[in-house]
Amino acid sequence: MSDIVEKTLTALPGLFLQNQPGGGPAAAKASFSSRLGSLVRGITALTSKHEEEKLIQQELSSLKATVSAPTTTLKMMKECMVRLIYCEMLGYDASFGYIHAIKLAQQGNLLEKRVGYLAVSLFLHESHELLLLLVNTVVKDLQSTNLVEVCMALTVVSQIFPREMIPAVLPLIEDKLQHSKEIIRRKAVLALYKFHLIAPNQVQHIHIKFRKALCDRDVGVMAASLHIYLRMIKENSSGYKDLTGSFVTILKQVVGGKLPVDFNYHILLQVLQKYILLLYLTMILTISAIFIFLSLAILFECVHTVYSIYPKSELLEKAAKCIGKFVLSPKINLKYLGLKALTYVIQQDPTLALQHQMTIIECLDHPDPIIKRETLELLYRITNAQNVTVIVQKMLEYLHQSKEEYVIVNLVGKIADVLVLNTVDTYAPDNAWFIQTMNAVFSVGGDVMHPDIPNNFLRLLAEGFDDETEDQQLRLYAVQSYLTLLDMENVFYPQRFLQVMSWVLGEYSYLLDKETPAEVIAKLYKLLMNDSVSSETKTWLIAAVTKLTPQAHSSDTVERLIHEFTISLDTCMRQHAFELKHLHENVELMKSLLPVDRSCEDLAVDASLSFLDGFVAEGLSQGAAPYKPHHQRQEEKLSQEKVLNFEPYGLSFSSSGFTGRQSPAGISLGSDISGNSAETGLKETNSLKLEGIKKLWGKEGYLPKKESKTGDESGALPIPQESIMENVDQAITKKDQSQVLTQSKEEKEKQLLASSLFVGLGSESTVNLLGKADTVSHKFRRKSKIKEAKSGETSSTHNMTCSSFSSLSNVAYEDDYYLNTLHDRGDKELKTFSLNSELLDSESLTELPLVEKFSNCSLSTPSLFADNSMEIFHPPQSIAASVAKESSLASSFLEETTEYIHSNAMEVCNNETISVSSYKIWKDDCLLMVWSVTNKSGLELKSANLEIFPAENFKVTEQPGCCLPIMEAESTKSFQYSVQIEKPFTEGILSGFISYHMMDTHSAQLEFSVNLSLLDFIRPLKISSEDFGKLWLSFANDVKQNVKMSESQAALSSALKTLQQKLRLHIIEIIGNEGLLACQLLPSIPCLLHCRVYADVLALWFRSSCSTLPDYLLYQCQKVMEGS
């Protein structure tokens, strides 16, 4: 420490002495701080932390004595306060002085008050209880005639003020807005800004006064009011549109030099961001070269703005230039911001990254980790299937170097995001690489990473991609790599990683041929005995062992394990061990319980536990109390308390007490009785209490959210087009080899890196297209990709001077865009129609011209690509044509069955002669499936016959008049089947085939299948509220669940409307925040739903006579509520 003092002394010669009274400018103010001075000097002179602590404690105790002594004058107190602040800053507790600080602010004269206020604002925080004592002082000072006192009061108010006391000072501060001194006005505005932050609704009524402040003649006041407006406009941008004029005027004045150049104008710009003012932005972008540093900040904001508003080409051009200025700047701060801006815009304009790729490569090896990190962030945004290996490798390198936990979590999340999280298009090129990278990620970030990552990874493994053999290989590789990892001695893996390993080994070890499950069990056992493994991981391990046990032949290890862990102190482990033990005794049962490779299949669970009915009945007959769910018990408890308060004898058996009474007692008692899941013996009481039904639902207990499995996980993963990539790679390497001969080796490496990083960039849309698994535009894709690669190549070698090329790639990009949208359209048409019943034909008809329009505009793209466009636009046209055909079909059908809602036509199968489409018609009493068969050939078809296979859950009956002996050429015939449901389910498949004879007597057969959903069989049930009440009590199967609502449906009515539309529920009545709905499952299983809204949670309560229906309906409801 002493050498530090010396350094300070040498650096600032003489200053130390100047602090003696009488010397230098600093000393003029040091007269009163002599004791502080000695304290500071004392501390600086000390050599150890320990000594410092001793000195400060000494000082604090003497201060404590002084401040609490009655003889201490205010002047001394002020001096003590300063020393207290100093001690607190050094990290020592000086809380005994807080109250004295408030006192000083209250009693002292001006200068003591000033220190008092300062101490208060430094010591206390907004919610500190002592702050209430300050309110009175503040009010007094606000009313003072002394300018300085008012200023001090306002200053302290805008720093810390208790929220609940705002009304006390608000009128005073409002008055200050009209004060003659601008400094007071300014501070008042800022104080109100502070109020707006902590309690927005309290200052709502004075918004009009802010407008005055905005037009204030003083610049400072105007600038201060901008803070408020920025905040308010962020919250509600449409409400202040009328102020745009004022903002523009201010901006004009700044630009015109009439107002001093100040950096508050970035705020103004942010404000203007909300209102698109292209003109002024252009102006600023051009003039901003004038003021150097500030203008750069403003420029940065402008670039942000340009990219966040509706794109306009000339602005984008200018913004791109600005970004260039930033990125190429030798100043590191500007470079950092340039990278940030690039990151921001890269998704919209990937060509910019191509321009700056060499800079990016340089930054990637920058000594400053912050720059490096930002570069990685940038690369993360441009990751695609081609460059993923290089980018992930760079990220991993950085990951290994960094130690800060926050960074690791962030980076691990990003890598995992690239690899796992977006399961729809993982960029991983091959299995081995994928598993190894994930291994690296897990072993570095294992314990800090987000728990979603291992879960998603496992799901990806389990659900697999489209290709089954590929999946098996992936799993096999995973198993093998984990086994090798486990073989290594003395290596410690994070717990999460071990958990992942144990799950994979348990699930997929059967894929191994040579290594028997017994060996795997032995390895897991070794891990289990390891002390460094946490108990959570141990349960994972035991679960894995349990899964493997039925596959193993000899089971010494298992027995040993059972032996060890049945006496474990950890109850959870013991439980698992016992389970294993009992299952182990019955191997057959174990095999059926733990089948191989079934992790993805849903288990059919009898949620109502109906198999226990006998057991329950027996118990009840022996006099056991009926089971009450948790929420009922809670309600009962609550109601008992409340009833005692209101009406001591009300709870007793007088039924009159229930009728129409609002007290929770009646409500919950009624629901207690009706809510019993074991419905025995209580029915007679039910009938007595029917009058009270409307108020049957009391406060709901907390129910843990069920895992809602979303079945719509689309496992469609793009299969990387290896051959294409190879082509590109070869092209690159060849070109590189020929060009780099003259370049230095380092340059060459960088170029290589660049080309590998930026390959495929700018053709992001083509990457997306890959995922769609259609063969239509492969040719074009290949071309464009090579083109992109080339453009990347050339611009890298020519150092981004090649502007013509960039425009070329721009065009290509545009082309892609059109193609993409076209495909989206086409896909949409061809895709299986949604369950949504509201999808009427008119929609599909309106979409048709749109498709044509698209093909029109894409045909008019520059003639440069004339040859390409020939190739590209054929397929979409054919799609359009087929769509046209289909929708005309649908419309023809519409005439027949206009009274019922029906779905869109969906092509289920076709070949060169016929095509079969299906429709669903939701009739009141059944689901009518219609298959319309179109004969596309010019020949007559004989004995066309359509048959439906019998399905498990359905009863299918053929409608009369559907037998078609002969189908004429190019005609359409339809077959109708009515479908009834036999058992509730979520999703079912109806399949069948069509057979026909051609003229030349050879017969053909085509199979098809259609998905049916439970919703196809749900119809509204129109009953009255009274009936609802009666039915409600008679149903025993109930399911409750809370569903979070999205903002768009926050109100009950809109939520119910969604349910009505999507699920075809009938809304019976809406009472306050509760709603009654009913529906029936065909043919006639009713289901009732009671909804209640509080905050943004929708509490759903289903009841039905069918035990499983409520569960299925709840699932659908959740899907609808989450989906919308």
Binding site: V40, M89, L122, H125, V148, G220, A224, P367
Partner: protein, 160 residues
Amino acid sequence: MQFMLLFSRQGKLRLQKWYVPLSDKEKKKITRELVQTVLARKPKMCSFLEWRDLKIVYKRYASLYFCCAIEDQDNELITLEIIHRYVELLDKYFGSVCELDIIFNFEKAYFILDEFLLGGEVQETSKKNVLKAIEQADLLQEKTETMYHSKIFIGFKKAY
């Protein structure tokens, strides 16, 4: 702005101003971590840091580090400019300011900061106005001080 810290090259805290309510423990932890991180950085590195979910802007003036934490949507360059302007204000007020001025007159530094930034936002951008406000307050202070002295003096005389 979330908070502003001034600390020396040795890691000693010289000034702290928090614009968000935090517990003392939290404050100490943040201070310790930030001081360590910033001091570990080399002089040629850039002035911005991403730390937790905040952006840190720091700048070194002689032996003193000025360090501000801002939110995600705030502009780094502006913050750098704010720091610079605060240093200019200190410089004008103390007359070529040095670390010792701030150590011994830290309450003055706080007063200036309060005139310049209020509740985490820039209050007054004009240097002249800030200094004027400070001088006004100082003037009043001196007046009362002299009055106080003269009163004592009078009282003293009367006693005789």
